[in-house]
Point group: C2
Chain length 239, copies 2
Amino acid sequence: LILYGRNAVREALHGRRAVFRAWAEDERAAADARAAGVPVEMADTAGLEAICGSPDHQGMVCEAAPYPYADPGALLGGDEPLVVGLDQIQDPQNLGAICRSAEGAGASGVVIPERRAAEVTPAVCRASAGAVEHLPVARVRNLADFLLEAKEAGAWVYGADAAAGRLYTEVDWSGPAVMVLGSEGKGLRPRVQAACDDLVKVPLRGRVGSLNVAATAAILLFEAVRSRAGLRQGLDKST
Amino acid sequence: LILYGRNAVREALHGRRAVFRAWAEDERAAADARAAGVPVEMADTAGLEAICGSPDHQGMVCEAAPYPYADPGALLGGDEPLVVGLDQIQDPQNLGAICRSAEGAGASGVVIPERRAAEVTPAVCRASAGAVEHLPVARVRNLADFLLEAKEAGAWVYGADAAAGRLYTEVDWSGPAVMVLGSEGKGLRPRVQAACDDLVKVPLRGRVGSLNVAATAAILLFEAVRSRAGLRQGLDKST
């Protein structure tokens, strides 16, 4: 499996999966691979594009083991887990962007369905700036079933829905929590929506009527971080 | 100038610039154009791609007047303006995504430099889901000079900087405000940074060390919305 992109390759070199060899356009990129004990060959831009099949390689390409998906149940362990569930996100850019924000927010992981959804392809690794090498991403056969299991395990499940009555700032993000985001344009499927404890919306004041799903994810993730930190500090009385 | 993408064309039909004619793949798309009084021709996928030069047209293309840039000074008027300043954002996807979030947050507008930055091209219109047709976007010769003018006009200028000492949740977003975001990877240039009243960061808990600039923009924009709404309601004592 061929990964490409400077950050994607760099994080893979220090992540959970094996990296077998690398190709680099310049010495600085090559040095990163050598420092990680990975054999490197030099190649020019066109050569790298031929190896990875994308012009978007930023001078660094590597061959790595398949993406090491996490165990979905394990994401719900630990202290105050925060899990992102994605219902049929199709766009690799969006999946990558959401994973990058989730990793930055210190989320426990991202859960995606096995079918009719983007997988963690090299394009997703690139779009996540390598965040998927550190963030656990799990695949489940059925997202609604996973949400029911999460509830049994004590998590509160919030679905993002533009038609929800409650604002995302009005709910309690403390304790084990799962936030669920629907596919671009279509939102949550009925069974997934029914498995949520509560639906929340980001208030919109413009004319366009929807946010990009990766923007919504970033807003909800960092509201959870803010609200949890505020509760710990006893400073915030608003939620 | 040829615009493409279902939302991009639909919002252009109801936006500030003239739309001269449209091409549509199906009757539903054609009806939107006709309802706006714009002549429509039917075309197939390949025909639409030939007209707009992109496979990403979603069955709808139109010919429109050039993008109507706003007057930068006008963005600072009105009640409690919230302006986004972008320092050399190069990626059309990021510029479009930021404009979409800014429009959704009810921001007054986005200011971009004239040089070494993405303009509001058809790709940006597409990436913004048409939000740029409603959101004022202004170009300035020098972003630092604009920030100084904004300060003279009474605005508080916050720069996003990963190395800042203050969290974005610790500052006062009420009153006229400008948030400034730096280019991908490079951050704010020294003169732009020097023109800010305060630098703020989004706290990161992962290993990757940075968020996508469009994610940062979404987080800051909706924190400003949340904090302003909270202050108005007198509910929030945390900021």
